[in-house]
Every structure is written in structure tokens, then in C-alpha cells.
């Protein structure tokens, strides 16, 4: 590895988080500018496209609700397939946001400030996309609210033994906390937008959302405390949500699902896929929103390192599953894993292995993990691989379980595919609205890592150019 091209590669020297000369005002202007600028044509085209895809979702769900779950390719043997695959996929993606905002915050990983806002937004939108599935995959959608412990005159409660009920609690808690955490973080920046608003409407809307933020010390003090508390609340959630999602499988008796390794394996996988999605999105943000100076190659590289680490954990999990299947002596378990690798769905299994285990290993090379095009491709491959991982777990375990007489092969229907594509419509529409109307980089937080914000660093106030 040439040290010439990477002058700051000395581990002893912490690289500057935001290289180059930057001031507070510049950052405010740059980030607010995205929101305040005239709507770019590119954005209009993009949202037209994502809205079209969103319409596919609405159409598919309409068909699903009016006609029945049978419009999907599910069958008696494979009761879950693309629905729960999609659910776990999206929930997994949501993980990066909370991890970045909460865990990295508690670990004082300051590089997170450039990406945390977008990652958190991504979390919320991913959880929204995920929530489509548990609600709509049930046979009688109109009674889906029975999943919640709604007090009723008949004293009928959900089954507290059911992992699906735990799942409802875990995901809704996660969604609520993530949303609040994100919103709390947004308040100072919303105030900035309110103050910079050039129309009455903006002033009112941002004004309401800013909750009367004035930037006083008391405000900042409360804000920091609240932020810290939320970080503390979110941290266990990062682990708990996917642990509980994995319980949907691990608590069952289905060979291939009934595994104690699932909680850590699922969490690692979720972080893995979440970071891959953040990389995909950040690369696009750099490209289309000119945020290259805020979201530096260094940020991307850090994320790629996490991808490499979690990818390796996932790869290890794949391997150990085979070992356990063999070592347990359980014939059903053994069969399931052989069937995964060599059965009718082996194509899915090997797609998963190559995308999740082989390609991310390229990030060992600094050249690869700092190459934007390469990381873009790998991050997408990782997400493809992670979708396949869930598909492999859900479908290949179900399609051949205990009694061979019930073995079957699952084929997705058009509506399986359109619903899943549709969820991308929802995700990207929300994301586009987010980048258009909300500050997609945490202005206040990024400022805090500038040399100007460091009271011990040598700087002058003119350099900081405080605004308002």
C-alpha cells in the first residue's frame, strides 16, 4: 500500500474530520441551501419516479386487501416468504441509523455527525417500509390492530407468549424512539430554517416544528441532556429489535429457524445491511447534493470498515450454522443446511454467500474501501445479499421441513414482486421529501466538531463567523 496517496494513513495521527477550511456560516448555508434553493429539476424527476413506484405499492396493497393474501405466491407450506423477507430486510436497514446516532454518539465517534441525520431519517423510512408487511401480510388486514394490546370489553388480549407480539412491541417501540430521537435532533436545525425562512408558510411550518427553539444556553443544555437520554434509550433498542425479530424464527420449531445463534447473527446482519444502505445513500448524496465536503471519503471508509467487520461476523455465522447442524446430530437440522446449500434454492444461498461474505472482504484493501464506485457497487451487493439471507432463512427452512409429503417450492407472484418494489417507492419518496424539506446534515452537530467549536483550539472568531 502506497503511503504516498494516503498521507494521513498513520494510525497514530487522527485525521481531520472535515478537512479544509470550514466555518460555521458556511455549513449553515450549505445545508440550509439544499432546502432553500429552487426545486431542482433533477429532484422533480426523481420524485416523479419514486411516486410512480409508490403508486405500485398502493396498487399492490389495494389488490392484496380486496382480493386476499392469495395474490402473493405463498402456500400452505411456505406461509411467509417475500413478506417477512421484506420486513426483516427493511428493519435491518433501519439499524444503521440508530447505531450511528446512539451507539457512536455514546462512544464519542465524532465522525458520525455528518451522516447521522440522514441515517436516522433512513431508519425511520425503512421502519415505515418494514411496517407495511406485518400489517398487510395478515389475512384480515382490517383486524391487524388486534396485534396491539387494545383494551376491550371482552378482556381479550394478545398472546404474550407469541414472538410475533414481542415483535410488534419491539418494532413499535423502536419506531417511536427513533422518531423522537430524530426529531429532537432536528429541533435546533428546524429553528435555523425558521430563522432563514423567506416565506410565511415556511416560517409557520418550521416555526411550529422548531418548538420555540431560541438557541439559549438552557435550551442547549436541555437538548444535550435529552439527546443523551435518547441515545441511552436507543442503544439497547439497536440490539433488542433485531434480537426480537430473530425470535420470530428462533422460538419456533422449524428446523433452520430454531437456532440460538440467531440474535447476534441478526443484529450483526442488520448493522451490516444498514451501513451498506447508508453508504449507498451517502454516495448518492455526495454526488447529487454536493455534500462531498461534509461527507468525506473518510466517513465512507469508516462505514466500509464496519461493513467489513459485520460482514465477517455474518460469514462466520453462516459457517457456524453448518457446524452446529452437523454437531447437533439432529437429522432435520442437518438436512435443512444441506438443502440450503445444495437443494432447489441453492441459487439463492450462493447468491447470499457471494454477496455477503465474499464481496465485502474486498474492503480489506484500502483502495477498494476508498473507491467510491467500488463501494457503491459493493454496498448494493450487500443489500441484495442481505435480502437473500432473509429469503434463504424464511423460505428454504419452510419449504422442506419435517414431513416430506408437504415439501413444496415457493414461486413469487407478480404481486410479491410489485409490493416489494413498491416499498422502495415509499422509502425513496420519503427520503426525497426529507432532503428537500429538512436539513439532511445535522448543522448544529457538525459545527461542534469544527476546530472553531473547540474552545482549546487556536482559532479566531472571525473564522467561526457565527451566524445569528
Amino acid at each position: 500500500m502506497s503511503t504516498l496517496s494516503y498521507p494521513h494513513d498513520d494510525p497514530a495521527v487522527r485525521p481531520e474530520l472535515l478537512p479544509g477550511k470550514r466555518d460555521f456560516r458556511g455549513i449553515t448555508r450549505q445545508v440550509s441551501g439544499i432546502v432553500e434553493a429552487k426545486t431542482p429539476t433533477g429532484w422533480k424527476l426523481a420524485i416523479a419516479f419514486t411516486l410512480s413506484v409508490l403508486m405500485i405499492l398502493f396498487g399492490s396493497l389495494f389488490r392484496l386487501v380486496t382480493k386476499g393474501t392469495g395474490v402473493w405466491g405463498l402456500n400452505t407450506t411456505v406461509g411467509w416468504a417475500w413478506d417477512i423477507t421484506g420486513f426483516v430486510f427493511w428493519v435491518g436497514i433501519g439499524h444503521a441509523g440508530t447505531l450511528i446516532s446512539a451507539i457512536l454518539f455514546l462512544f464519542r465517534q465524532k465522525w458520525r455527525t455528518s451522516i447521522n441525520r440522514a441515517a436516522e431519517a433512513m431508519t425511520i423510512f425503512a421502519v415505515m417500509s418494514a411496517a407495511i408487511y406485518p400489517v398487510f401480510h395478515v389475512g384480515r388486514v382490517w383486524f391487524a390492530y388486534w396485534l396491539f394490546p387494545v383494551p376491550n370489553q371482552m378482556q381479550v388480549w394478545p398472546n404474550f407468549k407469541s414472538p410475533l407480539f414481542w415483535d410488534v412491541c419491539a418494532v413499535s417501540t423502536y419506531a417511536t424512539v427513533s422518531l423522537l430521537f430524530w426529531f429532537v435532533g432536528l429541533v435546533p436545525d428546524l429553528a435555523t430554517l425558521r430563522d432563514r425562512a423567506d416565506t410565511k408558510t415556511k416560517q409557520i411550518v418550521y416555526g411550529i416544528l422548531a418548538l420555540g427553539w431560541r438557541g439559549s444556553h438552557r435550551h442547549w443544555l436541555n437538548y444535550e441532556k435529552a439527546y443523551q437520554i435518547f441515545a441511552g434509550l436507543s442503544t439497547p433498542l439497536v440490539l433488542s429489535v433485531h434480537t426480537i425479530v430473530s425470535f420470530d424464527f428462533a422460538v419456533s420449531v422449524v428446523p433452520g429457524w430454531h437456532t440460538t445463534i440467531f440474535p447476534p447473527y441478526f443484529v450483526a446482519g442488520a448493522v451490516f445491511s444498514g451501513f451498506a444502505m447508508v453508504v449507498t445513500l451517502m454516495v448518492m448524496a455526495r454526488r447529487f447534493l454536493g455534500l462531498g465536503n461534509l461527507i468525506t471519503i473518510h466517513h465512507l471508509e469508516n462505514m466500509n470498515k464496519i461493513i467489513l467487520a459485520t460482514g465477517s461476523i455474518v460469514g462466520y455465522a453462516y459457517g457456524i450454522e453448518f457446524f452446529t447442524a452437523w454437531y447437533s446430530g439432529n437429522p432435520y437440522e442437518k438436512f435443512v443446511f444441506l438443502n440450503r446449500a445444495f437443494g432447489p434454492y441453492s441459487w439463492a444461498y450462493w447468491t447470499m454467500v457471494s454477496c455477503n461474505v465474499i464481496f465485502p472482504q474486498l474492503f480489506w484493501f484500502k483502495k477498494v474501501r476508498t473507491s467510491v464506485p467500488l463501494m457503491f457497487v459493493i454496498s448494493i451487493l450487500v443489500n441484495i445479499g442481505m435480502w437473500f439471507e432473509r429469503f434463504v432463512i424464511v423460505v428454504t427452512s419452510l419449504h422442506r421441513d419435517y414431513l416430506p409429503s408437504s415439501w413444496t417450492y415457493f414461486k413469487p407472484s407478480l404481486f410479491d414482486i410489485s409490493t416489494f418494489i413498491g416499498t422502495f417507492g415509499l422509502f425513496f419518496t420519503m427520503l426525497l421529501l426529507f432532503v428537500r424539506y429538512l436539513p439532511m446534515v445535522a448543522i448544529g452537530e457538525v459545527k461542534s466538531i469544527l476546530p472553531a467549536a473547540d474552545p482549546h483550539a487556536a482559532h479566531d472568531h472571525t473564522e467561526a463567523r457565527h451566524e445569528s
Partner: protein, 997 residues
């Protein structure tokens, strides 16, 4: 109220109970009205019934007929001002009747809810039923409510009234008199109705030149011909499998499709009772067959042999027996020169002969319907020579022996006569000859040449569509009639409901031809009001109706001594089997001969061996598939004697080399909405000269492919010990061999385990007697309002059967598989995995150990189904029930909820029957339901009584006793689920002499 009032029944309808229906027929008010059948305007109902229309028709005809007990309107809640006798809403009534089919009949008990027959059960008093039913019988109640049935006579496509039809028939009878009936032909199905036979006798007397032809596509003409050769008389062979210890089936599916299968299956089960009989007393079944049948699967030894080679094997068996000193007279010489079969077959023949010779009087050889007469004759000779006659086999006079022409050749003759103009008027009573007559007769074309052709049928089918007149026929459940079963036992067919579509019976049509006007009820009474029965007839008749049979009506056994010389001659006359590929024509497990083509339950019933639904396929051996590069669903062209058909293939393990098995009855052109476009018509290949087996068939791959809708795609057990079996020898050595379960950790539960203090319901299935015949599957469907999902649904693995029969192929040699069936339903696990995962608690445990489904709590997450290790839970993926027609709804069992889309369902152990029994027990002041008071639908239908249900806590109960059997095991016990369904392992009784074969 828009409905026609029904309460204005005239005084003449004073009797309000359905039993008095016939008496009412005698009333003048009825006679006048009946001629018109429906009031003005009612009989011209155009296609399809609206609900109101239907109700009003029902109301109107009720008012006319005074049939207050039969079809009452359902929608208005009005209390009876005069309650019909014995009818208590919510409590079904049961009536005995019989269902004629394929020239025999089975006695039935039919459940009727407020005048609607909803469920068919076997009549335990009837010797052909013994309380059991077949899948066909179970499903025939659905045919009664088939909305596609025709609702009036038709001339061409014009609707006519029965008045007009009756006038026409009378005129035909009148006109025929001048020519003594010349030019008049009556074509009937195989039947055993004494009344119809009497009427046809009257017709022959009145019109001596009129001809009566009998045709049944799955008839027993060859068997009758065989007995004619062997004994000089047409005799029916009645076999008693229970008494046989060595049973040899020559291409005969005697457990489901030959003779009197329910009785035979029960007899077979009796001979398999290893615990009662011991290894030495257990029967041994050898099956020689081309297509893998249920009998072959139940056999201890099965030999794959092309059907055309079976005669040779039968002769070789005679040869071996004669070598062992069995006296076969002239036949011995004739069979001495039988060419040798391959080593495997010869070895089997020697073993069979030795076994038979060693157990004289306890052996039984049976030849299949499709085998030539010479084989039946030889079999009769062998049974006689072994002293089996009078013990395991009995001969009774064939029904209506004097009746004229019968069989495929006669139909071809008839068709020729029709073409040449010799037939002026053809009256076809039932059947569907335009579809199923032998191809060389070109019957359908010939039918067009006949000036006047009249077809009596329930539907406007292939024949009716070509006939000049269609007459709508009454279903057996809505008509009076009589019938003898195979052994001669006579039953009265009595209606459960007035003809829904105003149909008439065969007898009534012949009566009209004779220029008379008696109704079926009077005709039947007249038939039986003779001889000793005429004394105190009403009482006797009521008893016959109540019991479902005339006591002591079985025919006496005939004394038979085979004429060896004639048999020898027949064997010599039989041409040598042709080389090349053969095709055999078999009864279809779904539609029989096509009569059930519009029956959704049967179309969706997986065929017992290959689990094919919705259609037919050509069963070919794996070797033939390899040779021609074929895989399941590939369409091939089968050509023989100038005709060809295109049919998908199904690779059938156990199919004989060089033999292709086809099933009849599919691909009908004029059929209702259910059967439309289903399957392939194979009749073009079936000529009268090669009626059962056609040789020299050319198979060509077409390159097309169709999807076969099968409910099971994987037939290997994958080394898992699921359907367990052993040999009698193994069982003697180690009776508990079946208990061996995979190694597992200590079985501990997360939850506090329940204890069951009161009654604990459990079910046991004896795999030793289960033959996998599907009767239970259809019984379950009928009892529990289980919807059908169509071919697409089955292709998508969404069939709804609560009870399925898993079929596994076993054995070391891939080409010589054995097979075992395993009925699987909800196991009502005590530690039910489904219950723990349901997020809304829609499936919970009852204190008696039932795994209950609360349909209205279920939101349909399908988690329970995923977590069910047996995969017995069924999900309503789409709306399968709201499309049921108004008339179809009459079949619905009111005790069972009809499920909506989006909910999960599964076997309930017939909880409605449990609760009925519990209520009755409580009323009677008993704390506990007595053993035997609850019979599940599957248990009730089972011909072999393989299923037992009852209280596990009652040590005296039959099911609890079964649990004491060393053969008892539970599936997947290692999961600690504690299933309430247990099995008894199957015990095979192979011949030690054939070890390694």
C-alpha cells in the same frame, strides 16, 4: 312477502312427514299438479336460479305437493304452525337409502338437516357398506346440489315440460305397437333394479321386437363371460376376503375398484390383525398388476407386470398348481405349455402356487375387471380346485341374466344399426354413451342419424347435447327406486328431498313408454308387494325403509362345477400377447367413468397413489420416461389403431414396463362449470375390440408441457421414520420396533404442562389396515364444509383438505417400489407449537385437549401454520366460499362454520360431533360421553376401521386400548409436542420363500 306462500298446503297434504311422500303421490290434488310438476311459469325457468326464484319455486312446489317435510324455505324465520313430525331445528334426522352405482349399490344412512340431505354415511346393516363409504359415495351428495343440473326436459335447445315429454314417450310407445316395437331401442346402464327390470320385461312383452341394450364403460362383462365359460351360467363372484389367508389379485384393485370394495377392504383388514391372529394367521396378499394400485400398495408382494401378460401369469399359476397336484382336469394340459415369464415372475408364481396349495380352502384368487374372460374362467377353476369355492368365494346368479345384449361389442352393433337407419327411436336411460361408448362404434355420429333419440340424464351432457330430446333425471337421493347389491341384497332407494330440478327416474320413463302413469313410488311398491312380502306389506316395507334393506334378500350361493374342457379351450383361444407398448383403461379416482366430472370434491381429491388432482395423466414407468426423455407433465401423443390422443405423462413409480395406464372420464365436452376443460378424453383409443387393454401403442413426445396439479411432490421419506412398518417376523421378535424414535435431548417444557382430568380426546390410525383409499378425506370435506380451490389452487399448494393422506414410496430398488399411506391431520398436540406463536391467541387448547381454532379471532398471520411440524393447517388465501351458489349452500353442514378469507383452519376432531355427544350425555345425566358415542367423520367413512377416536382417559375405550398396542407410535415425538394423534405401525407378511425378491 314476495315469496309464494307455502303454508297453504291443501288438506290432502295432511301428512307432514317426508315418509308419507309416496302416499301423497296417490292424492288427486297431487296427480293433477304433478303432471305439470311446477305451477305455471315455474317450469320455464331460464338458465340459472336466482335465489328468490329458487325459493319461490320451492315454495310453489311444496304447496302443490304438500311435501312440507322436504324442502322448506330457509330464509324467513317463521315458526312452524304445525311442526313436522320429528323435525327439531338443529337436530339432524337420518334415513336409510341406497345408492346404485356401476350396476351395484351400497346401503347408506343419509343425514338430513331440516329437509336437506347434507351428508352420506354407510349403513352398518348393509352388507356392501358395513357402515363405511367410499370417496365417491361421500361426494355424491354434492352432485345432488350441482347448480349445473338441467331443470327441465329439452327438445334440442328448447325447454319443454314434463307434460310434453310424457306425451312424447306415450306416443312413442303407442306408435311402436304397430311394428311390435321394431326400431325401438332402449339403452340402459348396468343396473340391478328389480323394478326397472320388471318394467323392461313388461316392455319386451308388449313390444317383442324392441331391443334393450346394456352398456357400462366400467362393467363386469368379461367376468360374467368368464363364468359363462367356466360354468355355463352367468354368475357373479362374491368374495370373502376376511376368510382368505392367501389372496392373489391378478390386475384387480379389489380394495377400492372391483366388485364390492368396501366389504372387501373390511375383510382384508380383518385378515391383517396381527395381534389377534398372530403371524401365522395373518393373511398374505400378492398383487400382480401393471399400474400401482391401492391393492398393490397394500400387498405383501407386488409384481409389476403389463396387463397383457397377466393371462400368461394366471395360466402359469394354474400350471404350477397342477404340478403341485391340484386337480385341474383338461386345463392342466392346456396351461402346461404356457411360455415362461421372466425369472422374477416365475419365482413369484411358484411361491404363490405353493402358498395356495398349502392353504386349501383359505386361498382366494381374483381376476380384474379388465382381464379377458379366459382369465376369469381359469381363476374360477383354480378357486374351485383349491376348495376355495363356498368358503372364500361364492357364486350367485347374475342379475337380469335374461336381459338382452350387454357389453361394448353390442353398443358397436347398436351404433351400426343406428347408422343404417334400423333404429327409429333410441331411448337412453342414464349413462353417457356419446362420450364413453367404444371408439369403433362412433356412437356420437350414429346418434345424429337416429330420427328420435331421447336421453335421460341429470345434466345436458355429451349425449344429451346430441340427442333430439333431453329428459332431466332425478338424483338417487331424490327418487324412489330399488336396487340389489352384488350378493343380491335388495334395498329400497328412497328420496331425502323432492326432486330439486323436477327430474324423473328411469322407471318412470319406461312407465311412460308403456303408456302408463304410475309414479316411481307406486312402481317400487308394486315390485315388492309380491309373494310372502305381500302379507302385511306396509309394515314390511317400512321395515325395509328403516333398515335400508329387505331382510334375507341376499341370493343363495350357486353350486358350481367348472367345465375344465371349456376353460382349456378358452385359454387356447386367447391370442398371444402382442409386443410393444400397451395402454390400460382404468376407472378414474376422481370422476370414475366421467359421471363425477362436475364434482369439485372429487376433482380435487388427490389420486391415492400419485396425488394428482384435476385431470388425468398417462402413468408411465420411470424407465420409459428415461427412454423417451420425458418428465412429469410432458405431453405425449399416444396412437393406436388409427386414433390418437394427446395426454400429459406422469412418471409413476411401480408402473410396469411397456405399460401405460390411462384413466377414463375426463375431457368431456359437455359438462358443467367444474369439469369444463379438465383432463383428457382417452376414449378415442378405446375400441370394443381392445376395450380394456390396447396393444401396439406408439408413444411420441410432442414437446408440449402442462402443469400437473399434485398435492404431494415428494414421495420419499428421506430416511425419516414417519410411516413405520415392519414384517410379521420382526414384530414377533421385537413387538415394540415401531417405538424407536430419533435420539433427542430430555423433553422439557417451557410452560407448566397441563393435566387432563376429565375426558381427553385422542385419535389413532392403524397403518396396518389403512389402505389410503381417500374415503376419509372426502368425508371430512363433506362434514366440515371444506372448500375446493381449483387446479390453480392445487398447483399453488393451497388445497384446503383438513385430512390428507401422505403417500410414500419405499424399498431398496427404485424400479420395484413398495408404498405406504399415512393419513395426516391436526395432531392436537398437547404442547402445540401453533398455540404458542399465535399473536392474537386465536388457537388455544381446550380442557379436553383439543387444539381449538377461534375463526373470528384469527387475523391470519400464518405463523401457526409455519410452526406446525405436520403442516396440517390450512389458510384461506382467497375467498373460497362466497362463490357457493344458493343451491350449493343447501349442502352446507349447519353445525360447522363456513370460513371466510384470511383465516386459518384445520381439523377440529369434528368438534361439532363431540359437542352433540356431550350435550346428549349431559341430558341423559351421564358425566362422561360413552366410548363410541363420538364418531369422527373420517372414522365413520373408513372402510377398514383404521381410525379410532375416543377418550384417552377412559382405559376401556377402543382408542385407549389401541394405545396399549406395542405397534403404537407418535409422529415427531422428539419435538416434545405430545401429539394426540397416534399411529399403529404397519405389519407386512412377506413370504419367506421370496426373501430378497
Amino acid at each position: 312477502m314476495k315469496r309464494a306462500p307455502y303454508s297453504h298446503a291443501p288438506e290432502t297434504s295432511g301428512k307432514t312427514h317426508w315418509r308419507s311422500l309416496g302416499e301423497l303421490h296417490g292424492s288427486e290434488a297431487f296427480a293433477g299438479a304433478a303432471a305439470r310438476e311446477f305451477p305455471e311459469g315455474a317450469s320455464d325457468a331460464v338458465s340459472g336460479f336466482g335465489r328468490r326464484r329458487f325459493i319461490s319455486l320451492m315454495g310453489a312446489s311444496l304447496a302443490l305437493g304438500g311435501l312440507v317435510g322436504c324442502r322448506r324455505p330457509e330464509e324467513t324465520i317463521v315458526p312452524y304452525t304445525r311442526a313436522p313430525e320429528e323435525v327439531i331445528p338443529g337436530r339432524p334426522l337420518y334415513f336409510a337409502t341406497a345408492l346404485p352405482m356401476l350396476g351395484t349399490s351400497v346401503g347408506l344412512i343419509v343425514e338430513s338437516h331440516e329437509g336437506r340431505p347434507t351428508k352420506i354415511e354407510g349403513n352398518p346393516r348393509h352388507p356392501e357398506s358395513l357402515g363405511a363409504t367410499s370417496a365417491f359415495l361421500q361426494a355424491s351428495v354434492l352432485d345432488l346440489y350441482d347448480p349445473d343440473r338441467s331443470d327441465s326436459p329439452q327438445q334440442g335447445s328448447e325447454k319443454r315440460t314434463w307434460d310434453e315429454a310424457a306425451a312424447l314417450l306415450r306416443k312413442i310407445g303407442e306408435d311402436a305397437k304397430s311394428k311390435k316395437g321394431k326400431g325401438l331401442v332402449i339403452l340402459t346402464e348396468a343396473h340391478r333394479s328389480p323394478t326397472l327390470a320388471g318394467l323392461l320385461g313388461d316392455l319386451r312383452a308388449a313390444l317383442p321386437e324392441a331391443r334393450v341394450v346394456r352398456y357400462e364403460p366400467l362393467g363386469r362383462d368379461e367376468a360374467l363371460e368368464g363364468s359363462r365359460v367356466a360354468s355355463g351360467r352367468a354368475l357373479e363372484t362374491v368374495i370373502d376376503v376376511a376368510r382368505a389367508r392367501v389372496i392373489i389379485s391378478l390386475d384387480a384393485d379389489l380394495l377400492v375398484a372391483e366388485g364390492s370394495p368396501l366389504k372387501q377392504a373390511r375383510g382384508f383388514a380383518a385378515g391383517r390383525d396381527i395381534e389377534g391372529l398372530g403371524a401365522a394367521g395373518m393373511s398374505r396378499l400378492y398383487a400382480v398388476e401393471s399400474a400401482f394400485s391401492i391393492t398393490g400398495a397394500a400387498a405383501d408382494h407386488r409384481l409389476r407386470l403389463a396387463s397383457r401378460l397377466v393371462p400368461r401369469l394366471a395360466f402359469a399359476l394354474a400350471r404350477e398348481l397342477s404340478k403341485l397336484g391340484i386337480e385341474l382336469g383338461d386345463l392342466a394340459a392346456a396351461v402346461a405349455a404356457t411360455p415362461a415369464l421372466d425369472a422374477r415372475a416365475e419365482r413369484m408364481v411358484k411361491a404363490m402356487a405353493a402358498d395356495l396349495a398349502a392353504r386349501r380352502g383359505e386361498g382366494l384368487v381374483v381376476a380384474g375387471r379388465g382381464q379377458p374372460a379366459a382369465v376369469h374362467a381359469v381363476v374360477q377353476a383354480i378357486n374351485h380346485a383349491l376348495g376355495n369355492a363356498g368358503k372364500t368365494v361364492r357364486y350367485v346368479a347374475a342379475f337380469d341374466d335374461s336381459a338382452s345384449a350387454s357389453g361394448p361389442a353390442k353398443v358397436v352393433e347398436l351404433a351400426a344399426a343406428m347408422r343404417s337407419g334400423e333404429v327409429d327411436t333410441l331411448v337412453i336411460l342414464g349413462g353417457n354413451p356419446a362420450y364413453d361408448a367404444p371408439a369403433d362404434g362412433h356412437f356420437a355420429d350414429a346418434l345424429g342419424k337416429v330420427k328420435q333419440s331421447i336421453h335421460l340424464a341429470t345434466h345436458v351432457d355429451d349425449t344429451s347435447a346430441r340427442a333430439t330430446w333431453h329428459l332431466n333425471r332425478a338424483h338417487s337421493l331424490e327418487s324412489w327406486g330399488d336396487v340389489r347389491s352384488e350378493d343380491g341384497t335388495a334395498s329400497i332407494v328412497q328420496p331425502l328431498i323432492a326432486p330439486i330440478f323436477g327430474g324423473r327416474t328411469d322407471c318412470e320413463v319406461v312407465e311412460m313408454l308403456l303408456g302408463r302413469g304410475r309414479k316411481a313410488y307406486e312402481l317400487v311398491r308394486a315390485t315388492w308387494q309380491t309373494g310372502a312380502r305381500a302379507l302385511d306389506f306396509d309394515k314390511g316395507f317400512r321395515r325395509a325403509l328403516h333398515d335400508g334393506l329387505w331382510a334375507d334378500s341376499a341370493l343363495p350361493a350357486e353350486d358350481v362345477s367348472p367345465r375344465f374342457a371349456d376353460i382349456a379351450k378358452a385359454t387356447r383361444a386367447l391370442p398371444a400377447p402382442a409386443e410393444g407398448i400397451e395402454v390400460t383403461f382404468n376407472s378414474d379416482p376422481h370422476v370414475l367413468d366421467g359421471r363425477f366430472a362436475n364434482n369439485g370434491w372429487l376433482q380435487e381429491l388427490p389420486c391415492p397413489m400419485h396425488k394428482l388432482t384435476w385431470g388425468n395423466a398417462a402413468a408411465i414407468s420411470p424407465a420409459m420416461a428415461r427412454e423417451h426423455g420425458l418428465s412429469d407433465g410432458d405431453v405425449v401423443k399416444l396412437a393406436a389403431s388409427g386414433a390418437e390422443i394427446h395426454v400429459p405423462v406422469l412418471i409413476a413409480p411401480g408402473q410396469a414396463e411397456g405399460s401405460i395406464a390411462l384413466t377414463l372420464g375426463h375431457g368431456r365436452t359437455h359438462v358443467g362449470r367444474v369439469g369444463k376443460g379438465v383432463g383428457v378424453d382417452v376414449n378415442p383409443l378405446r375400441a370394443s375390440t381392445a376395450f380394456n387393454i390396447v396393444t401396439g401403442v406408439v408413444l411420441t413426445k410432442t414437446g408440449e408441457h402442462t402443469q400437473l396439479a399434485r398435492t404431494q411432490e415428494h414421495f420419499a421419506m428421506e430416511g425419516r421414520n414417519l410411516a413405520r412398518e415392519g414384517t410379521a417376523e420382526e414384530f414377533t421378535k421385537e413387538p415394540g420396533f415401531a417405538k424407536e424414535a430419533p435420539e433427542h435431548p430430555p423433553l422439557l417444557s417451557l410452560w407448566k404442562e397441563r393435566s387432563y382430568e376429565g375426558q381427553a380426546w385422542g385419535l389413532n390410525i392403524d397403518l396396518n389396515t389403512c389402505i389410503g383409499c381417500n374415503a376419509c378425506v372426502t368425508a371430512c370435506q363433506a362434514e366440515n364444509n371444506i372448500p375446493i380451490v381449483g387446479a390453480e389452487g392445487v398447483e399453488g399448494t393451497r388445497e384446503m383438505h383438513w385430512l390428507r393422506i401422505d403417500r410414500y414410496f419405499t424399498g431398496e430398488e427404485a424400479d420395484e417400489p413398495a408404498s405406504i399411506a399415512q393419513p395426516t391431520m391436526c395432531s392436537h398436540c398437547e404442547n402445540a407449537p401453533c398455540e404458542q406463536v399465535c399473536p392474537v391467541g386465536a388457537t388455544t387448547h381446550s380442557p379436553e385437549g383439543l387444539n381449538d381454532m377461534a375463526y373470528n379471532r384469527c387475523i391470519g398471520t400464518r405463523y401457526c401454520a409455519n410452526n406446525c411440524p405436520f403442516k396440517v393447517r390450512r389458510f384461506n388465501f382467497l375467498d373460497y366460499t362466497s362463490g357457493i351458489t344458493e343451491i350449493g349452500k343447501m349442502q352446507i353442514n349447519p353445525d360447522v362454520t363456513v370460513r371466510s378469507r384470511g383465516v386459518m383452519e384445520k381439523c377440529t376432531f369434528c368438534v361439532q360431533r363431540i359437542n352433540h355427544a356431550k350435550i346428549d350425555a349431559k341430558k341423559d345425566g351421564q358425566g362422561h360421553v360413552k366410548d363410541g358415542a363420538i364418531v369422527t367423520a373420517c372414522q365413520q367413512a373408513c372402510p377398514t376401521q383404521a381410525i379410532r377416536f375416543g377418550d384417552l382417559n377412559d382405559v376401556g375405550s377402543k382408542v385407549a386400548k389401541r394405545l396399549q398396542s406395542p405397534r403404537m407410535y407418535r409422529l415427531l415425538e422428539e419435538l416434545n409436542i405430545k401429539p394426540r394423534v397416534s399411529y399403529l405401525a404397519r405389519i407386512k407378511n412377506p413370504n419367506p420363500a421370496l426373501e430378497g425378491a
